[in-house]
């Protein structure tokens, strides 16, 4: 089967800046794809190219097998949803949603049927007479979504659709949006900088960085098998140990860290003497009073305790002065550890991912600011 949307070697420049650099991407019919990346990665540019709001400098874009370069947006069968909804303020919900069908000159019955069906879909049937300013942000977002679907578009292009909303509300709306897309057999390309959102709604995630696709795969693949320091740092985050491979045997490798600390990793793909970075996710680091067999065990002192909605996050200082973070899901009966406590930090060699030391330095790969 042909992909529904396909980009072949797409490049877009703004003056001297290359916003997108030879992007190749295909999206299947019915797929929910998230484009995830930091500000300035080129996410919105990518979406606007598919929508037809921008033209690529090089490369081709295909929708339903047809080359759409230079095809105007309204003929691409795709609805672009802006961050700020862009509803008509002087029209009520019904008029906003039926706008597309009216423009397309469908007969009155069809216009009515489609409009009420779509409004039910987004659970706003009861608010059809309300004006945008009378609705909450979440509701306005749903009206915009309904308008996109009512126009007959099979492809939803969503640019930070929950960007302006309350964090707690986003959790509810994204689950709803995902079901809607799946139930209606639509295809969604959703741009976000929120990794949790991407992990929860996507069939596949494309990680975009500096105009290139860094990695593409299912949420599980991206999370459990990140191919780069950037990806593991951007999606989920991790602790990073700089070191040198000191030994490789049949069980794995030994890495010597600053201050003489040694850790074991299961990966055997590096050579002795190689400079590497070992990444361990915060949630894979357990804290306790005794050493765990078969694990890496390090001694540290709890420097800070933070409560992060449902989890406790501990900042721990190691003997070599390195700072580590451990995130532990709060189970009802557990008592949080306290600042100043000395703990044994354990993590399994299989939970350690090993990367080549980056040419531009570690900070450049993981720095957020």
């Amino acid at each position: 089967m042909l992909p529904l949307v396909e980009l072949v070697n797409v490049t877009k420049r703004f003056g001297k800046i290359t916003a997108l650099n030879r992007i190749n991407l295909s999206v299947e019919d019915g797929e929910y794809l998230c484009i995830l990346g930091p500000t300035g990665a080129g996410k919105t540019t990518l979406l606007r190219l598919i929508a037809g709001l921008l033209e690529p400098d090089e490369g081709e874009i295909y929708i339903e097998g047809r080359k759409v370069n230079k095809v105007p947006p309204e003929e691409r069968n795709a609805a672009y949803m802006f961050q700020n909804y862009a509803l008509f303020p002087h029209m009520n919900v019904w008029r906003n949603v039926s706008f597309g069908p009216i423009i397309k000159e469908w007969n009155q019955k069809r216009i009515n049927d489609v409009t009420s069906e779509v409004l039910e879909m987004v659970r706003l049937g009861e608010r059809k007479n309300a004006y945008p300013h009378e609705l909450s942000g979440g509701m306005q977002q749903r009206v915009a979504l309904a308008r996109g679907i009512a126009s007959g578009a099979r492809i939803l292009l969503l640019d930070e659709p929950f960007g302006a909303l309350d964090a707690r509300l986003r959790v509810n709306l994204r689950t709803h949006l995902k079901s809607l897309v799946k139930d209606q057999r639509l295809t969604a390309i959703h741009v976000t900088h929120d990794q949790e959102e991407a992990l929860m709604v996507s069939d596949r995630i494309a990680i975009l960085r500096e105009g290139r696709i860094e990695q593409i795969g299912s949420p599980q693949e991206i999370y459990t098998n990140p191919k780069s320091i950037f990806t593991i740092s951007f999606v989920g985050g991790a602790n990073f140990f700089e070191g040198v491979v000191s030994r490789v045997n049949e069980f794995g490798s030994e890495i010597e860290l600053r201050g003489g600390l040694r850790i074991h990793v299961s990966d055997r793909s590096r050579n002795v003497g190689e400079r590497v970075v070992v990444a361990v996710r915060r949630e894979h680091i357990s804290l306790g009073k005794s050493r765990r067999r078969g694990f890496n065990n390090l001694l540290g002192e709890i420097e800070d305790v933070m409560f992060v909605g449902g989890s406790m996050e501990y900042m721990i200082k190691l003997e070599n002065d390195m700072t580590l973070f451990s995130r532990i899901l709060l189970k009802g009966s557990s008592t949080p550890l306290r600042r100043g406590e000395i703990v044994i930090i354990s993590f399994h060699p299989r939970e350690c991912r090993i990367f080549e030391y980056p040419r531009r330095g570690l900070l450049k790969e993981i720095e957020a600011i």
Binding site: P38, T39, S136, G137, G138, M139, L165, D166, A167, R168, L169, V171, N172, H193, D194, Q195, E196, L199, M200, P219, Q220, Y223, F234, V235, G236, R281, E283, H284, M306, F307, V308, G309, G310, S311, E313, R327, L329, L330, K331, G332, S333, P336, H348, R350, E351, A368, I369
Partner: protein, 366 residues
């Protein structure tokens, strides 16, 4: 020292009560966050303290002095808002020293404080850079430093990280707290991000429809929220409707229909009361058959969210229960259609009177 006290502060916009008799005391050196759904009045509240909005009724005291009629520049506060407001034609140094210059501070003193601020926000290497050469996160740090230059010991932060990427925000929020605590200043921080509030505040104020619903320490609000709205707003929760069947010294036994019962260590309630039972998805324990509050169900949905797996289970009563569990290495992940036994520790079962307005309305975030 800067203690802020609001007494019956009320603000109307036409028929809408944006702030409805708000009473709040912010103690000296405290880091307070205000959260609540859009339109709850949190921005109106901070703007009233800043002096940008004049309340219709009530008094605002800073350091024991009533400030209702005192203009913003004379209230002795630093104010940082969401849209980064740096001067584009000035470099970092000029932006940071701008305030004190116009106020006529001694140049040498200005320089010393500015250097301290720059060191504190860790931008020493970029003092010659112009805003457009800096990332959004760095720009916002400079905005904070500039506000701190007023040497005011009260900072009002109105969605200071709102315009930034989540990744940047999760780093900067700790910086904000670190700076505030290092300088011993009092902070009121308005945010739409519950996690942000949870991780940096000494105390959180939850607002809804112009009123303060509840305030408390982050962990306390999360573990033992006093009302249903808070329980839902500060984190996800499962809600079941039931009736109190038995009251004992140990707690309450609640009938949730279809022969299913939940035990809670809570003590408030009478036999026959209609109640809502709430518990957090991460407190549910898997595979403990003999425990109290053990339930059985079929997995209807699995969603991975990175380190956690979100399992939706349908019980015999037709209720859907969300469970959050960490993904453990070497354990096979659960699958849709599988049967599952789970239990809820009684101390994590919260019980609330059934709300007059109905459950749906009470939990509504809009």
């Amino acid at each position: 020292m800067p203690e802020v006290r609001l007494v019956n502060v009320t603000k109307r916009y036409g028929r809408i009560l944006a702030n409805d008799h708000v009473n709040l005391t912010i103690r000296d050196g405290e880091y307070i966050s205000v959260i609540g759904p859009s339109g709850c009045g949190k921005s109106t509240l901070i703007k009233s303290i800043a002096g940008i909005i004049e309340p219709d009724e009530g008094e605002i005291y800073i350091d024991g002095k009533i400030v209702n009629n005192i203009p913003i520049e004379d209230r002795g506060i630093g104010y940082v808002f969401q849209n980064i407001a740096l001067f584009p034609h000035m470099n970092v140094w000029e932006n940071i020293t701008y305030g004190p210059d116009v106020k006529g501070f001694l140049p040498e003193e200005t320089k010393t404080i500015a250097r301290e601020m720059i060191e504190m926000i860790k931008v020493s290497a970029r003092i010659d850079a112009y805003p457009d050469e800096l990332s959004g996160g760095t720009q916002q740090k400079i905005a904070v430093a500039r506000a701190l230059m007023s040497r005011s010991s009260l900072m009002l932060l109105d969605e200071p990280l709102g315009a930034l990427d989540l990744k940047v925000r999760s780093v900067l929020r700790y910086e904000l707290r670190r700076i505030a605590k290092a300088l011993g200043i009092t902070v009121l921080h308005v945010t739409h991000d519950q996690e942000e509030a949870m991780s940096i505040s000494d105390r959180i104020v939850v607002m809804r429809k112009g009123r303060i619903v509840e305030s408390g320490k982050p962990l306390q609000l999360y573990m033992k929220p006093k009302n249903l709205f808070t329980a839902n707003f500060v984190g996800e929760a499962n809600f079941l409707v039931g009736k109190i069947e038995k009251v004992s010294e140990k707690g309450l036994l609640i009938d949730i229909g279809n022969g299913l019962k939940v035990f809670s260590t809570e003590s408030k309630g009478n036999i026959g009361d209609r109640v809502v039972v709430a518990f957090r998805p991460e407190f549910v324990i898997l595979k403990e058959k003999n425990d109290e509050n053990a339930f059985f169900g079929e997995i209807t949905r699995i969603v991975y969210s990175g380190s956690l797996v979100r399992i939706t289970v349908e019980t015999a009563s037709g209720d859907e229960i969300l469970i959050k569990n960490p993904l453990k290495f070497g354990e096979p992940p659960p699958e849709t259609g599988e049967k599952l036994t789970f239990s809820i520790p009684p101390e994590n079962v919260l019980v609330y009177p059934y709300p007059e307005a109905g459950l749906h309305k009470e939990l509504s975030l809009e």
